[in-house]
Symmetry: C2
Subunit: 252 residues, 2 copies
């Protein structure tokens, strides 16, 4: 076979699957939908669907994200920061037997969103929920866990890859702000880091670090809000996308 003969190629289906992460009640949570059909009927899975014939991959991912959450997505290049989520390509999964019905290649995407109202079911009436990632991943892809059944297909692995991407990327980028509302305090940002990494951080050193990193945070007028104690200044995300120096995840 000539390597680019367009008339002789195996047929593939191409889908996008979404790892949508948010921080709720001090825990890193992912969006899961219940499958209405075989295979894996009744199991929880990542949201996703087929890429349409004239749609690019990012658009397909953004469309699925909007269908599941109502969020509009924006690419990292754009400085937009409305109620949109961060969206980036994660990785592609294409083992021949990952879907029992046919050859499906899935281009997984990672979305980071601020805490949202209750998820709304997709148009096809599947139910959806936010679940802590440890609950969805309990014991690895092949465990018989206490928290329910494993995710459908290879979605546990995809979710694990997405979580690891988020954990490492907030070290050297300003991506943690994607988990916050448009205006937020240093303490709220710190609680994001603590939830995503699962560690406790020193509030004083954290404050000095983030406010001292140029381009990370921009003070929003003179302002305060409450969370319990003394009012805190409000910030929004600055223009910097790469943090230098990076935030360091504490040793294990």
């Amino acid at each position: 076979m000539s390597p680019y003969d367009p008339s002789a190629f195996p047929p593939f289906a191409v889908t996008v699957d979404l790892v949508v992460l948010t921080v709720r009640r001090h825990a890193l949570c992912a969006l899961a939908v219940r499958r209405g059909e075989e295979p894996f009927q009744g199991c929880w899975a990542l949201p996703g669907g087929f890429v349409r014939a004239d749609e690019d991959l990012t658009s397909a991912a953004a469309r699925e994200l909007a269908e599941e959450t109502g969020l509009s997505a924006h690419h990292p290049q754009e400085a937009v920061r409305d109620n949109g989520a961060h969206l980036e390509q994660l990785a592609t999964y294409g083992d021949p037997d990952r879907d029992p019905r046919m050859r499906v290649v899935s281009v997984a995407h990672l979305a980071l969103a601020p805490d949202l109202p209750a998820p709304r079911p997709g148009g096809d009436a599947r139910s959806a929920r936010w679940a802590p990632v440890e609950e969805l991943l309990e014991g690895g892809p092949d465990r018989v866990g206490a928290g329910g059944e494993p995710l459908a297909f290879d979605h546990a692995r995809i979710l694990a890859d997405g979580v690891e991407r988020a954990r490492s990327k907030i070290e050297y980028s300003s991506l943690a702000t994607a988990f916050c509302p448009a205006e937020f305090t240093v303490g709220e940002l710190r609680r994001v880091y603590e939830a995503v990494w699962g560690v406790a951080l020193d509030p004083r050193n954290f404050h000095r670090k983030v406010t001292g990193t140029p381009g990370f945070l921009v003070p929003v007028g003179g302002t305060t809000t409450r969370q319990g104690g003394r009012p805190a200044q409000l910030f929004r995300a600055g223009g910097a996308t790469l943090l230098n120096p990076p935030m360091l995840r504490p040793e294990v």
Copy 2:
């Protein structure tokens, strides 16, 4: 359309394209092949080909790599370090019009290899060459440059993404050793960093840094070799894949 109806999906072709990087004569080079057919007949392109019906994506990339270079690939997990190259998935490119003939989704992979003998043409007699990446990327994807024509399809963008991945990944991983033969000196490793980053590094600080990072380098017996001056110790890559602390790319 039900989101997982296997009987109604648009047909896609899935390919793998390869960014194969090496360091030759103190320059970061990529493998390019000349296309024998339309479209882009006679243009240079990245090596690649269709994924077969029962082949997973990594296997397809490893097969293409072997066909083009004779290298066997190993996954990062495996500790193998024969004459194999490092191989990892890079990203997936699927714009509807990236191939004028049909809908093609390409799962690009990044391979890092030590300096090799002259590239051998693939079985279909295409010619192949190592070219400095600046030459292949001159002026961006849409330049009319001095060094020839742009790469076919969206391969300039794929190559640029692969180069950036390599440049950033050698900061915090031991991946730079994938550009070296099985046994190498600190000076050879430093010249790899200098070529990939395009900067000059202080040999004394570099030596202290790499030999002081646990798990990065393992001295191979008592040995030396020559490169010009005083003989140097030989090392092989240690088990560590993540470097802590990282190598820091000098400021711009």
